[in-house]
Amino acid sequence: MDAVVSGIVLAGLYALVGQGLVLTFVTTRTLNFASGELLAVGGFLALGVGSWSWLPTPGKLAVVVLVGGALGAVVHRWLVLPFARGEHDSRWLLSTVGISYVLLNLFTNGEGANPQRVELTRNPGTVEVLGVGVNKQSLVIAVIAVVVTLALVAASRWTSGGVIMRAVAEDPRTVALMGISPRLVGAVAYAAATALAALAGVLWASEVGATPGLGVHVLVSAFAVAVIGGLTSFWGPLVGAVVFGVVVQVSAYELGALWGQVAGLALVIVVLVLRPEGLVGRRMEAKL
């Protein structure tokens, strides 16, 4: 029971970042391998705006999220669009890996590898959930992840935005004929995804300190949950995160802490092999 509850709570962080991956995949069929470093940038931004005493906390958070969003649009325009021309063009995969190395190196040189304390949105301590001690900050992140998921699911179901987002990836030409710019939709998706990563970065850096490598481990797990859940469904990251979190924690409890993550990653391979579209993803028709 302990393992299940803590697994679910732990999953929130991954689901939040994984949701960003789904957003970009649904609209552009691309993924941002620099999400982890952008998450770390969120942490450092929080460090930067932390000293603006004239701005209340929600304002600071908004600044970080907006700057994150802008960065996302920049990444899309300069690092994804030019490298995703057509179905067979996978250069975006490597260009985002490339920029992740740039960011990691830049921040290691500029800020040092040691963690720096972030006070913005700090929630120290634990709270009991179903009789299990749970880290407060993780719980906050999990709640936000659920809210974001519900918002995205609702938006994709009940607004035209959702239809547009799916259509953009499946038939960009028709969508363009309808007067909607696939590029704009892609840019918005990247902005939203990166804003989510930045938000996760602030929240997580408040817990463990801002470091250049803050996002490396988070991103691996976020990929895992997005793949397990399915990259084509907004429910995917949440479902995937719960499954991943529980598997990781239960195996960590049963086999030892280190084997938890190994089990989680092994699960990714199992899912990809047996059900490439993910647990709740839609099977994509092979178009010939």
Partner: protein, 395 residues
């Protein structure tokens, strides 16, 4: 064929550029002691390089005149990788023809080059903690360690851990330092006939360690030893201890938490935390070094314990060279180091630190040499007393 030729040209130009980069060695002058430093200038953890070069510079500035030596420092980047360290060491040994090697500071890189440096037959000073770097069976043994060896620390910690009627659990980093630390504690426990209830590993950078702690709790652990490399991970573990409500009387760790633990942790996480170190970290010497360091480089030492150890290494080496009178007499210098009466880091003095069969500066056998540190209510470091008295009277 044409494109092949142009491609070959491109390759050749990069290759020749690279070759030029290697030719930067200067001619050595007679009578100048040439120290080679190797560390991860451009690796993922450049702080290990910074806090190798700076303390050596500071100590050389202090000591060269005192010993009447002219000292030249040569630095090489090991890029933070084992094969980078291998090439860097070859460059120091052969191209730069240094008289002694200091580094690499990271255990994995030091392990990669250990045999090569040993066979080169030149004095080697290390502050890396992994016990395997020191191959005691070698004769002559060229390695002198001016930091504690993780297994020695473990046997000291074991004396402390098993001194009461306690159930001990271990959490270690999944890296060279953490693994060997945990293994040596286990070995010590076996020797003492004590039992370790649980051992858990933590992946550096892990986001949540509650599972590991709950396994410790399930095993009834009340005393925890943390063999952890980064303070941030220590914070993750102490957080999990609070979260899981593990009732630990004592949480024992090591000085690596000084690097960043205090900036991350909250007061309740400091409470039961102690670590054992042979250096008087709250003393005037450490404070003085920190002040000089900050005056010179504009920031506080990043890894204060490494700074201290490298300064000890400089004194060890330069003293021996001064005694022999010729840095090129490698055997002589090695024997002189073995026979040193004392090694000092400013006002801290270590009497007869080395011997023919003893190349470790710190001895695990004498609990009075080791100091137990903890944190006060504000998170400031405080010395609780030496280990001997702590075991005898509690502290």
């Amino acid at each position: 064929m044409k494109k092949f030729a142009v491609a070959a040209l491109a390759v050749a130009s990069v290759a020749s550029l690279a070759a030029c980069g290697n030719d930067s060695s200067s001619e050595r002058e007679d009578g100048v002691v040439r120290i080679g430093l190797v560390g991860p200038e451009t690796g993922a953890a450049p702080q290990f390089y910074t806090d190798l070069v700076r303390p050596v510079e500071l100590a050389v500035a202090d000591l060269a005149d005192e010993y009447g030596l002219e000292v030249e420092i040569v630095t090489v980047d090991d890029k933070g990788t084992p094969d980078g360290a291998s090439a860097a060491v070859q460059q120091l040994l052969n191209t730069e023809d240094v008289d002694a090697i200091f580094g690499p500071p990271q255990s994995g890189n030091a392990l990669q080059v250990a045999d090569v440096i040993q066979r080169s037959g030149r004095p080697w000073l290390s502050a890396a903690l992994a016990p395997e770097i020191m191959d005691e069976s070698l004769d002559p043994n060229w390695l002198f360690r001016t930091n504690y060896n993780a297994s020695d620390l473990s046997s000291v910690v074991a004396q402390y851990l098993f001194s009461g009627d306690s159930t001990v659990g271990i959490v270690h980093s999944a890296d060279a330092y953490g693994q060997s630390g945990a293994e040596s504690i286990e070995a010590e426990a076996e020797e003492l006939g004590a039992e370790i209830a649980a051992v858990e590993a933590i992946q550096p950078g892990t986001t949540d360690f509650s599972a590991g702690i709950s396994r410790l709790a399930a095993a009834g652990v009340d005393t925890v030893f943390l063999a952890i490399t980064a303070g941030a991970d220590t914070a993750t573990v102490t957080k999990a201890i609070a979260q899981e409500g593990l009732a630990a009387d004592r949480v024992v760790t090591n000085a690596t938490i000084l690097a960043d633990f205090a900036t991350l942790a909250d007061p309740e996480q400091w409470e039961n935390l102690v670590f054992i170190d042979p250096r008087d970290l709250t003393g005037d010497t450490v404070a003085g070094i920190a002040a000089d360091y900050e005056a010179e480089y504009g920031e506080a030492p990043i890894i204060p314990t490494n700074v201290y150890s490298w300064m000890a290494a400089v004194d060890t080496y330069l003293q021996a060279v001064a005694e022999v009178g010729d840095a090129r007499d490698f055997d002589g210098v090695r024997e002189a180091m073995e026979g040193l009466e004392q090694v000092s880091v400013r006002d801290d003095v270590y009497e007869k630190p080395f011997g023919a069969g003893d190349h470790e500066i710190y001895e695990p056998e004498d609990p009075s040499q080791w100091i137990v540190f903890g944190f006060d209510g504000e998170g400031a470091l405080e010395a609780r007393g030496d280990l001997a008295s702590c075991i005898a009277d509690g502290c």
